[in-house]
């Protein structure tokens, strides 16, 4: 009897392994192996020849090059990280706000939801690249395109700054808000998935809790902070991590790593760059994950 049960369990675990076999194969051959390879590459000089490639160990030279010799890598890296640091709170705030908005009952809600998720469909590097090249073509110069994009919002920023600083907000905060307003399109278009995640979380909050709160005399403001926010908070962590990872895909650093590898053919330097980048992002993720998971409410 006992032996029979054990063998059943054994069978189950074999079956489980069978289910994950495709992934496991992929993981070993197409993820773990390249990952180890790229560590190896970052410490070598890689020369591609028709029959394959040869590696010569160079120690830390590639890292040294990336950090201290290359003229632009440091700047591009800090800019990308800084952009991410600025964007994450904005995207998070906006997506929680929109999800709360879309979760309320009003006429036309279905249409509004369809529109709010449209950016998930349309977010594409190819399209934005084509759009930018169209503009560059029009103006003849990439910096002019950036300026155009900034003035294109047709919005008088100065008056906004004046009003906000008159209220007595610190200037750095005013700066942040104005920046958020100027980049509203970017923020809206990159928060589709996050809105979706928050919305799903909001839907899973039991309605009875709000009823109780209402009977007890809580205002909408109170019930948001005391009920909605704590129950949604685990998903804030998910969303922060998703947003950080998502901001990789089209960032300037990624492009730089790509061109270093495939345009200048310096594969070792490119691998070193991408590992510096990976380490920095991992450190950020660990810190953010640690800080947030301490404050998150789990029921």
């Amino acid at each position: 009897m006992n032996g029979n049960k054990l063998s059943l369990q054994h069978k189950r675990s074999l079956l489980g392994i069978a289910f994950i076999t495709p992934w496991l194969l992929g993981f070993i051959f197409l993820f773990a192996a390249p990952l180890l390879r790229s560590i190896q590459f970052s410490f070598s000089k890689l020369t591609v020849d028709p029959s394959g490639f040869t590696l010569d160990g160079v120690g830390w030279a590639n890292f040294n090059n990336a950090l201290f010799v290359d003229a632009t890598f440091n700047r591009v890296l800090t800019e990308s990280v800084w952009d991410m640091v600025l964007n994450v709170p904005m995207i998070l705030f906006f997506s929680l706000f929109s999800a709360t908005l879309l979760n309320q009952k009003f006429r036309g809600r279905i249409v509004a939801r369809a529109i709010f998720f449209l950016p998930v469909i349309l977010a594409s590097n190819a399209i934005s690249a084509a759009e930018a090249s169209g503009l560059i073509n029009l103006v003849g110069d990439a910096t002019a395109v950036n300026e155009l994009g900034q003035s294109g919002s047709q919005y008088n920023v100065m008056s906004m700054v004046m009003i906000l600083s008159d209220i007595g907000l610190p200037l750095s905060f005013v700066d942040y808000i104005v920046d958020a307003i100027l980049r509203i399109y970017e923020i809206i278009t990159s928060s589709g998935v996050q809105i979706l995640i928050f919305l799903a979380a909001l839907q899973s909050v039991p309605g009875a809790m709000y009823e109780v709160a209402k009977i007890e005399g809580a205002t909408a403001y109170e019930s948001f902070w005391k009920i909605t926010f704590p129950l949604v908070s685990p998903l804030i962590l998910t969303n922060v991590i998703y947003t950080i990872i998502d901001s990789f895909s089209g960032s300037a650093v990624t492009k730089m790593i790509f061109t270093t590898a495939f345009t200048t053919q310096n594969f070792g330097l490119s691998a070193a760059m991408s590992w510096i980048y990976t380490v920095i992002i991992s450190i950020i993720l660990v810190i953010v994950g640690y800080v947030l998971s301490k404050r998150v409410h789990y029921n």
Binding site: F19, G26, I110, I121, S124, A126, S133, G134, Q203, F262
Partner: protein
């Protein structure tokens, strides 16, 4: 006893409060509509612009009084953009490619998600942590080794043993994407495995036990009982996978830059338009000094982008309802 006056006063007070409450409600509703409509407009505006541009005649570019609706309707832009993109063969090609990879990804991720959700095998938690790791490592880190890997593709040296060559060159074939999607390691596959795992974890255990008692094996239970119930996470994953694959520039430009696929074609649209438009307008033919009007080129690019995203928008309009509902029925949260 209250005096009648006090009662009346109280009633009045109550009425005022009620009116005030109504007013606040209406104001709030108006505020909400203003917000929702405003944000929706910001999202839709570029699309509307593209539609407007697509039907605009060249003559309308320099007319500042035209805002959205063109004066001279024309199909020329669409015709030209289609010609430059080689639209219908390109679309067919891309759709076939995307459908195949989407189906493979969904299948392999559903399998893995089910395996992680319902079976305990040694190291299953560690392995699932590795799934999350695949999401966290930036794709740019794996870029060069993956490229070299597919340049001389070989598993455990088998091909080398048989043919003596150093592996197959799979670059500029569809194989890299097909292999990565079949092994659940492709585009954001970690996220899909996660979604499936959360869903299967939420399914009641009794269903499985009942199936076991009725004599269904593990595979049969999965195919006959679990999958038909997993429609909602499946729609989410299929839609995401389809859209991201269709829009992906990373893997396509890395592995398949010479194949006719929508993302690579769209990102090189500007150069193509610049080179081809003068010839199309009958000015000078290819290679002459005649340059295209940059405004006209921008117009064609916008039209081309619109042509590229229209299939996605149509798809989205069809599945949008199921998609939003499926998310609400806790596909992601679980």
């Amino acid at each position: 006893m209250q005096s009648p006056q006090a009662v009346r006063k109280e009633a009045q007070h109550y009425r005022i409060q009620k009116v005030r409450g109504r007013a606040v409600d209406i104001l709030y509703a108006l505020f909400r509509y203003a917000l929702v409509i405003g944000i929706s407009f910001i999202i839709i505006y570029p699309l509307l612009m593209k539609f407007s541009i697509a039907f605009k005649d060249k003559a309308d570019i320099y007319n500042p009084t035209i805002y959205m609706i063109p004066v001279h309707f024309t199909m020329d832009n669409i015709r030209m953009a289609m010609q430059i993109l080689d639209y219908f063969p390109l679309l067919g090609n891309t759709l076939l490619f995307v459908v195949v990879t989407t189906l493979l990804t969904t299948a392999s991720c559903a399998l893995a998600g089910y395996g992680f959700a319902r079976f305990n095998f040694p190291g299953s938690n560690l392995l699932f942590a590795l799934v999350i790791l695949t999401l966290l490592v930036p794709t740019s880190t794996l870029m060069v080794p993956m490229y070299l890997h597919f340049r001389s593709f070989d598993i455990l040296g088998i091909i080398h043993l048989i043919t003596g060559k150093s592996g197959l060159n799979l670059l500029n074939t569809y194989w890299p994407s097909i292999i990565t999607s079949a092994t659940a390691i492709g585009l954001k596959a970690g996220l899909f495995i996660y979604i499936f795992r959360q869903f299967f974890k939420g399914m009641p255990k009794e269903i499985e036990e009942a199936a076991l008692i009725d004599g269904a094996g593990g595979v049969k239970t999965f195919l006959r009982i679990m999958l038909p119930n997993a429609v909602s996470p499946m729609i989410t994953v299929i839609l995401f996978c389809f859209v991201w694959q269709y829009n992906d520039t990373f893997f396509t430009s890395l592995f398949m830059s010479e194949l006719a696929l929508m993302p690579t074609k769209v990102s090189s649209l500007a150069a193509q338009a610049n080179a081809l438009i003068p010839g199309m307008l009958g000015a000078g033919g290819g290679g002459s000094a005649v340059k295209a009007d940059p405004n006209h080129v921008a117009m064609i690019i916008d039209t081309g982008i619109l042509l590229a995203i229209i299939p996605l928008i149509l798809l989205y309009l069809v599945v949008q309802r199921y998609f939003v509902e499926s998310v609400e029925r806790s596909g992601i949260i679980g």
